[in-house]
Amino acid sequence: MQSDERVVAALSALGPRIALFRFAVSGTLERARNTLASESGPSQTRIALGDFAAGLIDPDRFAMISSGSGPLDAVGRAVVECAAEALEALLHAGDEDFVVDVHAGASPAAAIRARMTTLGAAFGAATLVELVRRRTYDPVQHDLPLEGYPFEKWTAAERKLAPPLVIRLDGRDLDAFELAPLIDGCVRLILLVEEPSPPAPLARLVSPGVFVAQSGDMKVLERVTDFDGPAVIAVMNGAEARFVHDPRVGSAMWQRIEVTHMPDAQPRKSLGVRSAWQQRDDLSHLKALIEEPVLPANPAEARLAAVGGNGSDPTDRLTAWLLDQSTPAGVP
C-alpha cells in the first residue's frame, strides 16, 4: 500500500470539502436538537413570531394551530432522537473515516459505495428530521435506515455536499466503469493507486463537467479545491499515462485535456480486470481525445462559392444561402 504521507496530503487537500460535509452534519444535528428542545424548552414559536407578537399572540395556541407545529408524538420524538444520535456519531468521525482501503482483489466501487452509504447516513437523518419537523413523517413510507443511506438515494443537493474520499487500492483492481455511476454532484474520489496498474484506467471517465486526472504527484489536487463539480483523480507511481481533464479550461474536449505523458510500450498482457486489448483501447481513446478535429470541407460553402455567394455583399450571401436551402434533396 501507499505511504501514509500521500494519504495525509490528500486529506489535507480535501480539507475544505470534509469541513463542508461536517458543517452540514452539524447543522442538521442542531436542527434535530432544536426540534427536540422546542418540545420542552422555551417555545420556538414564541421566538419565531418575533417581539412584535409579544403580548399579542399566544405562542402555544399559535403553535397548536399552525400547520405541522403541534407537539411531537412519541414516534416522531424517537425518530428524531435516533437521527440525532446518528448525526452525533458522524460529527465525531475522524479523518480516517474519509479513507477507504480496498483489499487486493476486492471491488473498489463496492468499497466506496459502502463508505458513502455509511457517511450518507447524515443525509438520511436530515430527511427524517425534516419529515418529523414538518409532521409529515409516515413510518411506512419513510422507513429510512439510520445506519446508512445509499448514494443512489442522495438528492442533487446532497450530492453537492458528498463527503470526499481517499481510496488506497491496487492498480489491478481499478475498473473505471464501476466508478462511473458514482460521479455526480461534487463527489471527490482520490485514488492512491499502487502499481502495477493499467496505463490509462481513467480515460473512459473523461466527460464534460467531470474533472479527471492521472498524476504522479499530489499537486494536481490543488486544482480541484475550487472546482464545483465531480472529480476523480488517480495518483500513480508507475509509467502510466499522465493527463488532466479540467472542464473549466475550454469548450472543446481537446482544449480541456492536457496529456503530459503517454507510455511508449503498448500493453501486451492482461492486468487484473483489464485485458491487454482493453488497455490498448484505453490508450487509443485517450489519444483520440486530445486530437484537434479537422473538419471536412463544408459542401454548402462550396456551393455558395459556386453561385458567387462568398462575396462580401450580404445580399449576395443571403441569396446564395436561400438558393442552397431550396435545392431539393438528392438533386446535385
Binding site: I57, E130, Q141
Partner: protein, 632 residues
Amino acid sequence: MTAVALPVELRAAPTVLRRPEHTIEIVSDAGEGAQKCGQIFGAVSAKMGNGVWTVEIIPAEIQPPPRMAEGASGNRIRFGTGPITNGGDETNLIIAFNEQVLLGRHRLGALASDAIILLENSWATNSNPDIRTAWDKALAELSAQSYRIIEVPMEQQCLTIDENPRKGKNMFALGLLAYIYDRSLERIEEQIAYAFRKKSEEVYQRNVALLRLGLEWAAANLDFRIEVPTHPPTEALVVMNGNEALGMGALASGMELCAMYPITPATSVSHYLAEVFSKFGGILHQAEDEIAAVGVAIGASYSGKVAFTITSGPGFALKTEFIGLAVITEIPLVVIDVQRGGPSTGLPTKVEQSDLLAALFAEPGDAPRVVIAPATIEECFHAVITARQIAETFRTVVIILSDANLSTGVQPFPRPQLKKEWLAPELDLAPVKQGQRPYEWDPRTGTSTRSIPGQPGGMFTVTGLSHDEGSKVAYGAGVHQRATTMRSRKLAVLQQTLLRPAINGDQDGDLLVVGWGSTKGAIEEAVERARAEGIRASSVHLTFLSPLQPGLKEIFSRFRKVMTVEINYSDQPGDPFVTEENRRRGQLAMLLRAQTLCDVDCWTRVPGEPLRPGLIHKAIRDAVLTLTGARP
C-alpha cells in the same frame, strides 16, 4: 425684539435654561436642507442619550414656489431626558430661513407663546421691495406675539464659506443648535460624514466649516443656552426612521424579494433596501407599475421565495385585484402600506390613517386578510417578522399599515438581537405526502400545506377561479361555499391565538380612548395628562385590526363612553345636515361599532400632521365633561 450683539468680552455668561424636554423646528424653503439639519440634530441627540421623536415638515408639493407660508419644509424634533413617544404640541425654539415659512408655522399654531425664534435677516435688506414689504408685514404680525425673535445674519455668514446663498444655511443652523443645546461636535461631524458619505471630502469639509461657523456665531451672540439633560444609554441603541425599520425588518425576517413601484412616502424603504438587500441575497425589483410589482411578489412567493411589496394608498388601490388573487390562491404575501392623505393623489407627503377600511375590505368578493398596524418605529422593524410568519403559517395576505408619521419620524430604540428563528425556514422540496392535494384544508382550521413548484408530487395548476382542494375549478355545487369558508376560517383561528389588548390606565372608568397605529404615543400622553387632572380616562391601542383582538366588547362595557382617536375623516356632530343616522364616523369607530355592537364614538382630524397630545387631551376633557353634564 432684535438682539444687539455686544462684543464677547463685554457680555455676561449666557443664561442656562434647564428643561426636561424641548421641541425645536428648523424650517426653510424646499431644497435648502433644513430637513438634513433636523435629521442630524435628532440622531445626535438620540445617540447622546435623549429620548427623541422627529416629525418631518413637508410641503404638499415637492418644490413649491419659494418664500410661501404654506411651503415650509423642515423638521420638528422633540427631545427630552426621558423617552419621547410623539411629536408633542408646540415648538419652543425655531430656526427659520425666511420670514414667510416662519409665518406659516405661526399661523398653524405650531409655536409656543414664548417660543424663541432665530430668523435669517437678509430679507430685510433684499433688493426686491416686495420682499422687504413682506418682511416688514410678517415681522409686524409676529411681533404682536410674545415670541423672542433673534435675527441671525445666516446668509451673510455663510457667504464667507460658500458662494451659493441657498447652500450651507442648514449646517450653520446646526452649529447654532449645537451651541444652544451643547451637542457633541464630534458626534455631529460623524453624522455629517454619514449623511454626506456619497459626496466628496471637500463637501464634507465645507459642511463642517459651516457648522463651526454657526457654533462660533452663537457663542459670540447668544445670551442663553438650554440644557436638556441626557442619560447616556446603558444598552446599544439604533436610531432610524420607520421606513428604514421596515427595510431592516424585512432583512431580519429573511425576506428574499421586494417588488415595488416608487410612491411617497413608501419609497425610502426601497432606497434603503437598494443599498443593502443584495448583500443579504435579496432582490429589490422596481416594476413598471404598482400592479406589476404586486404580481411579481405573488409570483415569487408562489415559487417558494419569501416576498413582499410596499406601497402607499393610491398604489394600494391598484394592487387590490392582485391581492385578491393571493387570497384565493392562498399564496403568502406581505403588503406594506405606508399611508398618506387621500383620496387620489391627496396629500402625498402628509400623514393620515385613511386606508384602514381599504386594507380590510377593498376587494370584490370575499377576501379575508390579516391587517396589523405598528405603533412605533421599533414596532415597524418587528412587525415584518411577525407578518411573514403569519402569512406563511396561514397561507394568507398580511397587510402592515404604517403611515407618513412613522415613515419619516426618527426614534432611538434598543438594537434588536437578531434571531435565526425569525428567518424563513429553508425551502422544503421533499416529495409531498402521498395523496396530498394543493388545498388540503384542515376542515377545523382552514389551513393547508403549501406545495412549491418543483416538489415531486406537488404540481398543480394555480388559478384565480374558485377551486376545490385539488385546485380544480369549482364547477360543482358547494365548492365555492366550502373554499370561501376555509379561507375565512383562518382568520377566526388566528383570532383565537390573539390575546386581549392591554388597558393603559384604570380597568374601568368614564372614558376609554381607542386608537391604532402611530397615534399611540400621543394618545397615551394625552390620557396621562387627563388622569393627572382626575379624569377617569384610559386607553387601548389596537395592533391587530383584522382579526380584531378578543375581549373588546367586554372591555368597552366597563367604560361609560368609548371613543376612537384617529387621523381620518369623520363628520362632526352638529355640522349642517349631519345627524346621528347619517354621520360618517372614523374608520376604526365604524369597524368597532359593527363588530361589537357598542356605541363607539370618535374624535378624528385630518390636519396633514400627526395629532398633538394637547388636542387629544382637550378632546378627552370635553368628552368627559359632556358625559358628566358639565358641557364645556
